[in-house]
Amino acid sequence: MKLTEALQTLREGESSRGTAFPVLLACGFTPLHLETFFGAHLQKSLPGRQVRVASGLYGDLAGTLEREPSEGTQGVAVALEWPDLEARLGYRSLGGWGPAREAEIAHQVQAALGRLCLAIERLSHAVPVAISLPTLPLPPAFHVPGWEAGKAEIAIRADLAKFASRVAECRGVSIANPQRLLEQSPLERRLNLQAELLTGHPYSVPHANAVGAVLARLLLPAAPKKGLITDLDDTVWGGIVGEVGPEAVAWDLDNHAQLHGLYQQTLAALVGQGVLLAAASKNNSDTVEEVFRREDIRLARDKIFPMEVHWGPKSESVGRILETWNVGADGVVFIDDSPMELAEVKAAWPGIDCLLFPRNDHAAALALFRTVRDLFGKRRLADEDGFRLASIRAAADFAQVSHQGPQQDMFLSQAGAVLTAQFNPPLTDSRILELVNKTNQFNLNGVRHTEVEWRRCFDSESSFLLLVYYEDKYGPLGKIAVLAGQREDHTLRVHTWVMSCRAFSRRIEHGCMDLLFSHFDVDELRFDFATTPKNGPFRACFAPFLGVAPEGPFSVTLTQFEEHCPRLHFKVETIV
């Protein structure tokens, strides 16, 4: 982003009528262009809101972090630089360099990091904190030549690494990856010494953009993709299995096919973090199954579901996979070595990210692995990530064997379902907000929240939060529904209700309402419903209670509920 564009973006944000999004940029230097770029990158990610960046006092980073952030602050970005740890590591101080001072400088750095660590740990309980570790080169303050890492410098860097490791443990803290930043902003082009001496802003304009961008991205990470659909021949393995046979396709060094082995390893790792994986291949399925029976394969067959192996168009395979997963095309990546297949899928499903698997180009293959990491990367994993694929498979089995009408009752009564309710669970459980912000179909009104806004929903004593878990004989679905709102006399107002699509057709939504009526002993549930482009399943669920699908806020009385609620077959448990 250029400075002119950043200024323009900020101006457009200021003139918008959206809700304010106040953030704090904590740095010990004059924030100048960093503030502009940071604000502009946030504004780009939040077009409907007004980003407002406040900054702390010059030369007092620790003090800025130790003060309570102002009311409504949605996040804090910390741009740490060496002078924040010891003034003599900057160019505006003449406190002295050289051997006599090296140990003292290193000691001071350690003490400053300790103070910052405490402040950040405390702050992270209230707001998300994004940190860029010192990005500028250390000044030539030490007695060793520049190509050698001296004792003092090594000690300083070790203390910095310890600091980073400790604050990274805090739930609300994220840290910019120095290696990626180095690729985007080369070390030698980061410092503008003249600007630092003149204005106190040490960053070159491009470096301010790079740091501002990464801090904004840490505070507002993009939603990770949910599923990956892969081709098999010349992607998961090298060779065309239909031509060379199951024993001759390869993915190892000996056969010069290591890129395919690395790709398998990447896919297996993604499944391990909850990414859905399917295959779409033009092949005979028996032949493909034989490959997956080989003992040396790095990607187990059971990690892939569904497996669409036939000679039909891949766009049709993709359609069936999306339906099985119940995921929108924009949450999915398709990888194939054939540009033609990619184009065919893209034409049918424009929302899908289509990526070429570069068979013989090692640099491009590495770039692909990195892109895949970026698209699917998650800061923290939830328990549900570990069994998402299994529960999708179970949901598909469930859908196959379940029935509508009277037979459904019999089926559900034999499912051995357990619905577990946890009232007012800890707000630190990141799965809760993840569900609220990612669920589209069974969603009361589509309202998304930042962490800070979410916590503020529960400031009042009358507020409640209900987290629902589900398990049946087909397997656990984990945490699948979140309901939140407030008690108002004999009525319960519900402002948030989301349920994972994996939990459909089990009457869990009725179970949730039953839980609310019985736990709170109220006569009426009032729902802050709003139609969204995707929440049709939610509307459909309430048509039987109201006579018509709702168009706006509505209520369901206990009498209405009792009249229209189908029979529930859950065993209900409560986590206290």
Binding site: K2, L3, T4, L7, Q8, R11, T30, L32, H33, T36, Q194, A195, L198, T199, H201, V205
Partner: protein, 82 residues
């Protein structure tokens, strides 16, 4: 680059840095006439000019490049040099 082009591009730079400045006031803008032209705005303007004209401006000249006219003259001379 013609003087007209230089002035048009420079006007865009002023629009970016001083969004509330009326269009008609830009050609006569200077430190003395624009209240928002403080040290932060001055350095921002210089860096915007650097980006827009793809040139480097020595920050030591900050004090003398204190008006639309002086910047236009500086850029005109710089363009002629190359």
């Amino acid at each position: 680059m013609s003087e007209v082009t230089i002035k048009e591009k420079l006007t865009n730079c002023f629009r970016a840095v001083f969004p509330t400045l009326p269009e008609a006031s830009i050609p006569g803008a200077s430190v003395a006439t624009v209240a928002a032209w403080d040290s932060i705005a001055a350095i921002t303007l210089l860096h915007v000019v650097e980006e827009e004209f793809q040139t480097e401006v020595d920050l030591d000249r900050l004090a003398e490049l204190n008006s639309f006219e002086s910047l236009a003259a500086f850029l005109s001379a710089r363009t002629t040099q190359f």
